[in-house]
């Protein structure tokens, strides 16, 4: 595949990359962090969480850094008061929509949502909490799904489909009713497609997917396996 090298500016810094790279990829290569939740290296890009929105000079609105390729002469700003405000709003909405009780969560201290909130300086939520009554699916022998903690990033859906090839997970319902289901909305423990590989649990950014038996703050997730698997496949 042919690609050209382009030069652009991110936060006032001159950087170069291949024109098939995204703004997020190039930023990360250059040590510039952009907040993100649905993006995970090794999985396809959905641009669902909108946390990685950046300002691009001349663009009408904000641009999702994970889903936008770099072009010659682009002027990108990844951090500004306006962006910080948008990101805080997004995070607040995630907290208000679900039921996130960090203090008793298995992922406390290792949760990407919690980390992003801390970086954004969120110490309270202005929006009214919806307090949804979502079910916990603990029917699987090894793992559990607490839909109260799910932010619909769809990392589990993508890793199951793209890496494991099992396609156990999908999204059902629309808007505020959207939720993750296994197979045809059967309990996870009864799924005929699930291989119990646990990849979905590892890539889940919150405590929504968890290992059974884990206690508060014990669940440290590892996502590094993804880059190894994809690298091995590409070599083959």
């Amino acid at each position: 595949m042919n690609s050209n090298v382009v030069t652009l500016s991110i936060n006032g810094k001159e950087v170069s990359g291949r024109d098939d790279e995204t703004i997020l990829e190039l930023a990360l290569e250059n040590g510039i962090q952009i907040p993100r939740l649905c993006y995970l290296e090794g999985l396809s890009i959905v641009g669902a969480c909108r946390l990685c929105m950046v300002e691009v000079l001349g663009a009408k609105g904000l641009i999702a850094a994970c889903a936008t390729r770099i072009t010659e002469g682009m002027v990108v700003q990844t951090d500004s008061e306006r962006l910080a405000e948008y990101r805080r709003s997004i995070l607040e909405m995630l907290f208000a929509e679900g039921f996130h009780v960090c203090s008793v969560c298995v992922a406390n201290g290792h949760c990407e949502l919690q980390t992003q909130a801390a970086h954004a300086g969120i110490d309270h939520i202005d929006l009214p909490y919806l307090y949804p009554r979502r079910k916990v699916d603990a029917s699987h022998r090894l793992f559990g799904l607490d839909a109260n903690r799910c932010i619909l990033c769809t990392r589990c859906v993508r890793v199951c489909s793209e890496i494991e090839g099992a396609r156990t997970w999908s999204v059902s319902g629309r808007g505020i009713e959207a939720h993750i289901i296994s197979d045809f909305a059967t309990p996870w423990g009864e799924s005929t497609t699930c291989t119990s590989c646990g990849k979905c649990v590892q890539v889940c950014p919150t405590g929504a997917l968890f290992m059974k038996g884990a206690s508060t703050a014990e669940l440290e997730k590892r996502t590094d396996f993804l880059s190894w698997i994809t690298a091995m496949r590409e070599q083959r």
Partner: protein
Amino acid sequence: MSRTLTIDPVTRIEGHAKITIQLDEAGQVRDAHFHVTQVRGFEKFVEGRPFQEMPSLMARICGICPVSHLMASAKACDMIMAVHIRHTAAMLRRIMNMAQIMQSHALSYFYLSAPDLLLGMDAPPEQRNIFGLLEADPEMARAGVKLRATGQKIIEILGGKRIHPAWVVAGGVASPLTEEKRAEILALLPDALVLAQQAFERFAPSLERFQAEIESFANFPTLFMGLCSKQNTLEFLNGDLCVIGPNFEPLERTSNAEDYDELIGEAVLPYSYLKSPYYKPLGYPAGVYRVGPLARLNIVERPGTPMADRAFAEWHKVDRQSSFHYHLARLIEIIYCIERIGELLHEPDIMNANVRSHAPVNRAQGVGISEAPRGTLIHHYGVDDDGLMTYANLIIATGHNNPAMDRGVLQVAQRFVKGDELQEGMLNRVEAVIRAYDPCLSCSTHAAGQMPMQIELLSAEGDVLSRVARG
């Protein structure tokens, strides 16, 4: 005209409560009640959660005694998993539980009750607090702060934080002891033991000054309930559940936690959110019992450590039916806890790295019983096949004492409240009888907040004639 005095809220206790005192036409006390005015609802909102989350969720019932709830909850979870936890894990849990009892007793005695005991029941209310104590007797106040800090520090060393440590888990504890932690805890104990012994030696001889209070602070025969070791010594975590009669005669002894349901009934009274438990075979109110330090020391033959055993000699000299002696019992238990923590840290198996057992759901029910600072704590859980909570019943230490506190209020009011003139010292004694039990009302009704106090004088028709408020 008959009147009602209302003390609302009661001060220097943990949680929200009020007291009402009913006066007859002659101004004599006719009736009195203790009302718990808060409600929490933990039993309801844990439904549907994975049982492994319960220790951490239940610890949130209380910021004073999170560890006690962790213990009872973890024990109930052990039973759901049908595991016998490792010996080392059981010892480590014991150490943390005793550190909790020690810090809570220090809070109760030095911070909440010592102002009454040292400065006097009739001292001006603005002095009757920890700051007044600090002024009158800085040494004693410092000892209280130090003892409480020691207990909290031990909890922190073991669990990573002082309040709500997640270290106690279903199946044992999350991590083993290290040599550094062991040495750190051992280094804290000698000073603490000296302070505890001094406090005891100072308080025991002063008891004669409180004769009137000893006679009237809930001084009546009741049953007593608590855990007790096979050797009839103090055991706060893994002992048999024992009930003794009003003459200290054994009535019941069981090592099966699930038996609690056969032993304890719960009466619901119209004037309080707090249920009134009773010993089922005797019914309500004949089966009213007390729990906590007073009950525990009345049940055991001796505490079981050298210095606590020596202090226990004093115990047989006192009127053991009086709830005033909760204070003395607390001081003896602090000595015991410090000594016993030291003993356990010298056990050969204490450094074993195997401290956690893993298992799925093997039983549909689990009951965990532990001794909290205030008495016997029972957590009873039901789970579905996937381990999700279907049911929770909590009987909290303070709850057991509810009927005895209620009766104690009447007894002390009859002794000290005269006519319709409200005096501070008189009201303080009515509150102090409650304080002797060191109730934790936020725990017992599963609510939040602090407890100031107010007394109202009501006519027979319910009109407020006068009101005294503080807090």
